[in-house]
Subunit: 449 residues, 2 copies
């Protein structure tokens, strides 16, 4: 089979690239060994959001209970949630398959192995086929990492895939890794009543965010009675008598019903036949790409697997670029606009552009203005007044926006625009923000008032 | 007492004007007969949002119950909510008073009456004082209207002020007027378990919005088992045996525990001594202003009372303009950027810029692109998939955005920017929207995909 473009991996990046390339006239093949939508749809962002949405009422109730306005109880039927989740995800996959059909993308289900430049073998259970493509795009994504001593065993010690598939939430949960994946899943379990034990080797939770964001999160977690230990080394997490047992390097032991290992992710580049191509891999196997997202002549890599940034919408943006590049519509290097990064749940975190610390470490002048959630009527209405939004300025232009607190993700689109277009104070002054909204916290931060 | 500026009314508009005029060096007096913050803070937007926030868990639970994922019960303690509301509002008023002090605004508590050009008498209970001001700003706002037969009696027939002060929510509620005020308050009562009977003389609910918005709202209300009658004339609503009894012109009678009359608002311009000024009033007393918001020489009117638009953030924008104008910083006519309008609750509505119908009625070419909530993972997560966002284009530029559905107000800031800056498709293509967010519905609408 002869194609202009063969894409391996039908996660958000590979799928978007296929649809857009086909729309631009390229004969396109898309290969997927598992399920359309990849990690994001099937084992990542989307199922987590379905769980956070299904339990949102619990969090709202607990907040109102804390200020003595509401009381009650809510039972979430986890198996009903699983069934609904499967139904919704199947619906999304079906819609994706239909779209591939209408745009003329050929979908191949099976395991892809590169035989050599322009040649990909797809093996399904009973048959295999060789696809020939002028260009090849690797969009195989990544999967949970483990370390010696921190190896999910499918019993009480789980990776994020296994956590999301649990038939019910545990009564207690050890979470190793206080990054966004660990924190979102911990929130789900917390809402369902689990005692959370959170560990991170770095000295604060969400350690790649603004230090004040970490501080606010830690303060919320303390209120929730989470047991948080940062700056500690975990020696091992193992299943003992059907329970998860964590041992710190100092010998401290913590036991819980389950443990989630969320210490990072590694690229899916084994068994792909990449040794048959002149492609450079970095670290555990990230595909090194140049400024055109090219790994070698006629071979490109997009999304998580190129090791740039692990966010579905970043992969989609790279996908749009590659589709145009390969269709001959553009030949400029890839230049990403600012990519919003969101921790979901309640509180949420949003970050777009640079943080003050980053600028300062580069020796660049930087001014920070901010506004707290506390005085905002919508934050007050939800009894969720811990939080703030911070605007980072350089040369009197907005270069970064960071927020933490109830519904902080609602700034995502506006903040991305402000950073992309490097807003001035005057642009902010001229914008009318609706009252009363959380948006006014962003306004107050922008206007430093 | 001699001032550069005397402002009557300390709602959001009057207050913002005072603070900003004083910051620009004007000797400023602010007169308020009731409470700092005006209707918005004390009897309007903010208390309603506190009630919607306090009951948000009920709505979230009901949505999940409908898809059989959650069950439970939530009791909201209405008197605890009232106490918390009073405490929060008092805190806001205190912060406003402190800000007036630090910016050097003199606050006069009492009833203002204009004696003649540049002279305002302020009468408090035991004393009165005459203020002299070079310029006078009227910012007295408005209050609920009534019509013959539709007169709140303080018993079972209430205006919005009295509804918000109810010591508990009724078991059944008649709402006359399906505008935003009526709809938000009906939602609060609905969440607390009231059977809602909604009436409007116009042929649909939220009749000033896009017709499809009305349709979506009506469909949600039907699901909630509201009894909605539009296109009907109410002959009377009266208290009979401590209950509210509504009679339609066709003789139909409906009884409920309480009735809320939300049929519009009228300006606070009586007893102000405006006959001592050469000021023109329109209709029930709206102050007519020119393109500099000027009613007559040295007399200006901002916010609801000038009859332009009844939104707090519009008043604040006019206030910023007037402070600068009167401080001599600008002399251009007032030109408002697009003003976002929001119905809060769940579903929410957002509108900014023009609607397709408006353009079409002007004979202007118009293209509409839209995207439904149904396929959005966040809408699915909240089991709230009724809704859509619609983008109105003219000459390939965004001129209006309308949305209805769960959390639709989160588009407010971004949509206002897009309309203000008349975005092209390319600008939208270059923006990275976070995945998964409701923002992606806006993205799909913009990209017509």
């Amino acid at each position: 089979m002869q194609y202009d473009l063969v894409i391996i991996g039908a996660g958000p990046g590979g799928y978007d690239c296929a649809v857009q390339a086909a729309a631009l006239g390229l004969r396109t093949a898309l290969v997927e060994r598992d399920a359309l939508g990849g990690t994001c749809l099937n084992r990542g962002c989307v199922p987590t959001k379905l769980m956070l949405g299904a339990t949102a009422s619990i969090e709202e109730l607990q907040a109102q209970a804390k200020v003595k306005i509401a009381q009650g109880h809510i039972d979430v039927d986890w198996s009903a949630l699983h069934s609904r989740k499967e139904k919704l995800l199947a619906g999304s996959r079906k819609a994706m398959a239909a779209k591939l059909k209408t745009t003329g993308v050929d979908l191949y289900e099976g395991h892809a192995r590169v035989l050599g430049p322009g040649r990909v073998e797809v093996s399904a259970e009973t048959a295999s086929v060789v696809l020939e493509g002028t260009d090849l795009v690797l969009a195989t994504g990544c999967r949970p990492s483990s370390f010696p001593g921190l190896t999910p065993d499918g019993d009480a010690v789980l990776d994020s895939d296994a956590f999301l598939a649990l038939p019910e939430m545990p009564k207690s949960l050890i979470v190793v890794g206080a990054g966004f994946i660990g924190l979102e899943m911990a929130q789900v379990a917390h809402r369902m009543g689990a005692q959370i034990h959170l560990f991170d080797a770095l000295d604060r939770v969400a350690a790649y965010e603004d230090p004040e964001v970490s501080k606010t999160l830690q303060s919320v977690f303390r209120r929730w009675k989470w047991k948080v230990k940062t700056g500690v080394k975990v020696a091992s997490v193992v299943t003992e008598n059907a329970a998860a047992v964590l041992t710190l390097e100092d010998g401290t032991r913590v036991e819980a019903e389950k443990a989630l290992i969320a210490v990072g992710r590694r690229p899916n580049t084994e068994e792909l036949g990449l040794d048959n191509l002149d492609v450079e891999l970095r670290g555990p196997g990230w595909v090194v790409v140049d400024d055109h997202l090219r790994a070698t002549e006629h071979v490109y890599a997009l999304g998580d697997v190129n090791g740039r940034i692990q966010l579905a919408h970043a992969a989609s943006d790279q996908a749009r670029y590659l589709a145009r590049l390969l269709a001959g519509k553009i030949d400029t290097p890839y230049a990403s606009g600012p990519v919003p990064s969101v921790l979901y749940g309640s509180p949420e975190c949003l970050r777009v552009g640079v943080m003050a610390e980053e600028l300062e470490s580069q020796g660049k002048a930087c001014r920070v203005t901010s506004s707290p959630w506390a005085a905002n009527p919508i934050a007050q209405a939800h009894a969720a007044t811990q939080g703030f939004v911070k605007v980072v300025w350089h040369d009197d232009r907005v270069v970064g926006i960071t927020a933490v607190g109830h519904d902080a993700s609602r700034f995502a689109a506006a903040a991305t625009i402000m950073v992309r277009d490097a807003w001035t104070r005057q642009q902010a002054e001229e914008l009318i923000f609706a009252h009363p909204t959380l948006d006014e916290a962003l306004m107050h931060a922008l206007l430093d008032e």
